[in-house]
């Protein structure tokens, strides 16, 4: 895990981020709530970090539940 490559998904609001977090936990996708990295900016100060290979499932889950995101970025 030390060398894991991560991406983050950014949201438009904190409540969307928290809603998505619950969803990922339920579906077993390993995520971590972290502050939005300095080099990125977002309307909301927190984002969810995930293992980069999980990107397709992250996208699929968010789309299915129609949670709007601001973007996904590698970090």
């Amino acid at each position: 895990m030390e060398t894991a490559e991560y991406s983050v998904v950014l949201f438009y609001s904190t409540s969307n981020a928290l809603q998505a977090e619950k969803l990922f936990k339920k579906t077993g996708v390993a995520i971590k709530l972290i502050p939005v990295p300095r080099q990125l900016s977002s309307d909301c100060g927190i984002c969810l970090r995930f293992d980069r290979p999980d990107e397709p499932s992250v996208k699929a889950i968010l789309e299915k539940k129609q949670i709007e995101i601001q973007g996904i970025h590698p970090i």
Partner: protein, 193 residues
Amino acid sequence: MSENVDARGLACPQPVVLTKKALEKADEVFVIVDNETAKQNVSRLADSRGFQVSVEKKGEATYLHLTRKVSGLEKSSVTPATKSDVLLISSNTIGRGDDILGNTLMRSFMHTLTEAETRPSRIIFMNSGVKLVARDSEVIGDLRALEKQGVEILACGTCLGYYNLKEAVEVGRVSNMYDITAALLDADKIISL
């Protein structure tokens, strides 16, 4: 002159209180305790008072033999005071207001702390803050990382007991009001959240 303290069956902080009294009177103290927390707390107290500690376990009981180190070689007199920044976390949320937001801020803070350039030497958890070191806490990974980086994690034993979390501690050390008070009073800087 030596003193004997039988602290078996006594609840925290009694073993520490009795040992402290004995250390003031004698250069050699024999203490019997029956649990790990008491053993650790008594050992730390003795160490901080310049006593050598040797431990022997016999069945349920642990025997601690405390002897005063030769004067002039006491830890406090040879080790120069190092800078001590203490972070005091007395709630599982940051600030007052909505708890969901407060908890989110705390998690975000702990993550950031693992990546910060300066770190506190100690983090002390009190009141509902102790929930952060116990099972189901979202920040255990971060706290473990901080501990690995040399940050001392202390959780208030009274508080863990109150919230029924004594058996659920996942990271750090169970501490008592003596250690916590000393850490706060000795600190160069305290950040209280």
